[in-house]
């Protein structure tokens, strides 16, 4: 598999660095920084301001590398430049596109059009939001990528006869590299104290003193960074054999039976740990887990807005 990165800014650079150093370096066929000012400063040969949207292919920079790739990964590119992605995928001969969204302003303006255009070219595209939420794919190239990077997956080893962590093996790192960075700091942490363990996860996940930290948007109206924190916390709890948010959802449904989604949310969201139970801090993570449990046929969401075990 050959991977090409189309990126902009430090968000893209950090991910390319992590992926290149974390096992896929020999599969990277190239990277190109697409700066919005470089594209929009051009007049499109005097074709007027709308020319970009009418003929984006003519805006592929002249110095764009002549290379090929199976998987095109788009990182932090401005949403208004997204019309270039199908053209570039075509130029590279890409079969799959990973277009993660870690900031509202990178949401492609014409997402549906891009998806349709790529589908017409026989190219599969996925838009994980945030990048580290992606854990499975039907696409062979994205699936291959997910063996290395995506939603964090950890195996935790404790000291013999103790709750203290001896070391953590990172089975799948987050694309930003924060999971392996935090994992390296977990030796000696007491897994018996859930509150401290939880706080450690969330604090370290966006600790900008670390080598790698989460760069997703943190605005309370679009809390992708907080959702990424939930995903890491649950990966660690899962690795420790501590009930994760999904386990908590199933446990509540076992005890309470059919429950309104709103009531379930109240019991899970905002309760990241305590008394052996564990929830999440964002509604986004709750919704994600609910969808996954539905897809796994473990729960059923009814048309009346309730949820019950399958």
């Amino acid at each position: 598999m050959k991977i090409f990165f189309l990126y902009s800014g430090p968000f893209g650079e950090q991910i390319i660095n992590t992926i290149s150093l974390g096992g896929l370096g020999d599969q990277v066929s190239g990277a190109y920084e697409l700066r919005p000012e470089d594209i929009l400063a051009r007049d499109g040969g005097g074709q007027g301001p709308d020319s970009f949207f009418e003929n984006p292919g003519s805006f592929i920079p002249a110095d764009f590398p002549c290379t090929t790739a199976d998987l095109l990964i788009v990182l932090g590119v401005h949403g208004q430049l997204s019309d270039l992605v199908p053209c570039i995928a075509g130029r590279l001969g890409a079969r799959s596109v990973l277009y993660p969204i870690d900031d509202r302003d990178t949401i492609p303006e014409a997402r549906k059009t891009i998806s349709d255009e790529l589908a017409g070219m026989g190219v599969h595209v996925e838009f994980p939001e945030p990048f580290c939420s992606l854990s499975r794919s039907m696409d062979p190239f994205i699936d291959e990528f997910l063996k290395f990077f995506g939603r964090p997956l950890l195996r935790v080893f404790r000291d013999a006869g103790s709750d203290r962590i001896h070391h953590v093996e990172v089975l799948r790192d987050t694309p930003c590299g924060s999971a392996s960075c935090i994992a390296g700091k977990l030796a000696g942490v007491d897994t018996g104290d859930l509150d401290s363990l939880t706080r450690f996860c969330y604090d370290e996940q966006h600790n900008d003193e670390a080598d790698n930290y989460c760069l997703a948007e943190m605005d309370p109206r679009h809390p992708l960074m907080q959702e990424a924190g939930d995903l890491f916390k649950d990966a660690l709890f899962g690795g420790c054999g501590i009930p994760s948010t999904k386990d908590t959802i199933l446990s509540i449904l076992q005890q309470s039976g059919e429950t309104a989604v709103e009531d379930l949310s109240e019991q899970v969201v905002g309760r990241s740990s305590g008394n052996g139970a564990s929830g999440c801090i964002t509604g986004r993570a709750f919704d994600l887990y609910l969808n996954e449990l539905t897809e796994e046929n473990q729960i059923i969401i009814t048309s009346e807005g309730t949820v019950k075990l399958s």
């Binding site: 800014g9 650079e13 660095n17 000012e37 932090g76 900008d208 930290y213 760069l215």
Partner: protein, 221 residues
């Protein structure tokens, strides 16, 4: 080549320094400036131009050029610059005055506030930094508990500007307004806004803010 072009090139270089996620360029930049004899305040000043450019690109309603990740990385690099430059600041002459400083509710940006705090501290002010996203009550309680000479409030976001007005009104209601001199600053604040809400001064940047704090303390003496 015009002077304007040179200025643009320079700002572009500074943003590149601030957006290097590995932090190598910021260290090289500070080191080369120190070796060329530049004083730490002027280095802060230059970097602030770069930060302002990133802030403008982030807030541009027509076309946002910079994103959340750019703010985080540039903020991290400013912290690196502070770590490098702080030991080089002039020795403290403690006791010039007590300043309570914080970023207003709803705003978690701390770089501008921290630079201003470091600047004041190096000039001999005693600083009580009460952090970011500080509520109106938080500011009032800090003033009540510590009886500072100066209260400094920062806001980077236009959406959080009303919080500054609330704090000043709260100080009046609490009977504390006459006891403390209020200076406001930050990317979203203008001199006119400062006057409108009844602040005593507006700090355009950390050097301007420092000058005004010095003047106030001299008047007080």
């Amino acid at each position: 080549m015009t002077d304007d072009h040179l200025k643009v090139t320079n700002v572009s270089y500074l943003t590149g320094v601030l957006l290097d996620f590995k932090g190598i360029k910021i260290r090289e930049f500070c080191q080369s400036k120190i070796e060329s004899g530049a004083d730490p305040f002027s280095i802060f000043g230059e970097l602030q131009h770069g930060l302002e450019e990133i802030g403008k690109g982030y807030e541009d309603p027509g076309f946002r050029r910079y994103f959340n990740s750019d703010l985080i990385v540039s903020g991290r690099n400013m912290k690196r610059a502070i770590e490098i430059l702080k030991p080089l600041l002039p020795p403290r002459k403690d006791g010039k005055g007590l300043v309570v400083i914080g970023t207003v509710a709803g705003d978690v940006h701390d770089i501008g506030k921290t630079i201003f705090a470091v600047t004041l501290e190096s000039d001999g002010f005693i600083i009580k930094d009460i952090g970011v996203d500080v509520s109106c009550t938080g500011f009032i309680e800090a003033v009540r508990e510590t009886s500072p000479d100066i209260l400094a409030m920062s806001s980077l976001l236009t959406t959080t500007l009303p919080s500054m007005s609330e704090v000043i009104q709260g100080l009046t209601i609490a009977g504390l307004r006459d006891r403390v001199w209020v200076i406001v600053g930050g990317h979203a604040v203008t001199e006119q806004f400062a006057r409108t809400i009844g602040a005593d001064a507006y700090g355009r940047d950390c050097v301007d803010g420092l000058r005004k704090c010095r003047e106030f303390m001299q008047e007080k003496v």
